[in-house]
Subunit: 239 residues, 2 copies
């Protein structure tokens, strides 16, 4: 490890036992974690996503490869950690922020706002997220972030479309936001984020009841919310 002088060894643990089952992690571990993340972010910023490899990060951070893998599991995990702050901000916004992203606006509006916000996030991180996606084709769906987004959309869709298969539709709405597809659209086909958002609006507008807010395109044609064939004959089986 490093020769860093021992940190203040005070900290007798006399403090209040923090509310969050805080596991006592070794000081060198947290130090390394922080350094690894900083190095990773720096590599991406200065040399691009393709230069971000576990070996490279480990070498630059002055630790062994094993350390990086133990801390983050795999490349996707490392990338997830790098994006953690940004992701947390997004979650904060749609869970407790101002409408239409946060609570207060009608569900269909919130769905649209969420998709738009996610597009903005993709515009900043898509190349990096695409690498994470490619690590394991099913990996995207295992990550905690995806689960949170899915639950959020499922809830909103359930409210806006009582008879629909909210669980599946949430995945279907998240699918066009795959980083790989976004990169393809944005960087290889030159689509603007506005166009992408408008396209998503078309889908949401058609699927959920049209909302009052008029943005680009789609006119809130009547399309009333009907009950629809409730069951659909498929036993709802959520894990």
């Amino acid at each position: 490890m490093s020769r860093e002088p021992a940190r203040r060894r005070g900290r007798r643990r006399l403090d209040l036992p923090v509310a969050g089952a805080e596991r006592p992690r070794r000081a060198d571990a947290v130090r390394n974690r922080g350094r690894i993340l900083a190095i990773a972010a720096d590599i991406v910023a200065t040399r691009g996503v393709t230069a971000l490899t576990m070996n490279e990060v480990a070498a630059a951070a002055g630790v062994g490869v094993g350390t990086v893998y133990r801390r983050f599991g795999d490349l996707a995990g490392l990338i997830g950690a790098v994006m953690d702050e940004r992701e947390s901000r997004l979650q904060e916004s749609f869970m407790a922020g101002a409408p239409p992203l946060g609570p207060g606006a009608p569900p269909a509006e919130r769905v649209r706002a969420f998709l738009h916000a996610y597009v903005d996030l993709l515009d900043d991180y898509a190349p990096l997220m695409a690498v994470a996606e490619a690590t394991s084709s099913t990996g995207r769906f295992r990550g905690g972030a995806y689960a949170v987004h899915h639950v959020h959309l499922t809830t909103l869709i359930g409210e806006a479309l009582p008879g629909g298969d909210a669980h599946y539709l949430a995945d279907a709405l998240l699918a066009p936001l795959a980083a790989g597809l976004f990169v393809h659209h944005r960087h290889e086909r030159g689509m603007s984020t506005e166009r992408i958002k408008a396209g998503l609006d078309e889908i949401v507008g058609g699927l959920l009841t049209a909302a009052p807010r008029t943005a680009s395109g789609r006119a809130g044609s009547g399309r009333s919310p009907r009950g629809g064939p409730a069951g659909r004959g498929e036993p709802d089986q959520r894990a």
Copy 2:
């Protein structure tokens, strides 16, 4: 999709280049290609997709790794070649087969039929296709098969929804059919193909069989039974 590194350069053949369009490949090359494909299919069938590696295929086929890479480009290319026959059958069906998949049925119906047919294909090959997708996150969109599907859907959507962004919507409808997501739904969440098809029907139903947007006031009088249970779409859609 035969996505081979088209080699053969122009030769001054005076003979009629009609009938056999394929000629300039060395006998051992075609022999090796065939053997490699057979071996690859066999490995997948007997030992599963995880056992399918370029090294393994090369060794089993009795050729060098370089040969496999030259012929198929990468793992995704090899997988594409293995699936070529099945893919060709699908293309044949929606380009010149019987309605509603083939020409003759109203566009929205054909879109739905295509998605259903693709789900059936996924049910057989998703694990394999997921590996191909993971090879390169943007790889799926470069392959010839994707391009064909995209063109097809773009055309149909353009007919069914004159004012919409058919190009983007085609990608968006194809996105939920990503092999990785399908595997997640089918093998990890236990969803049935019927449920997946019904979910896709909901999306298509809302997007394409409702009153058109913009000025072209289609007096459809709202009410669109967004795709009910698999099959039975809305019969009010004449050519």
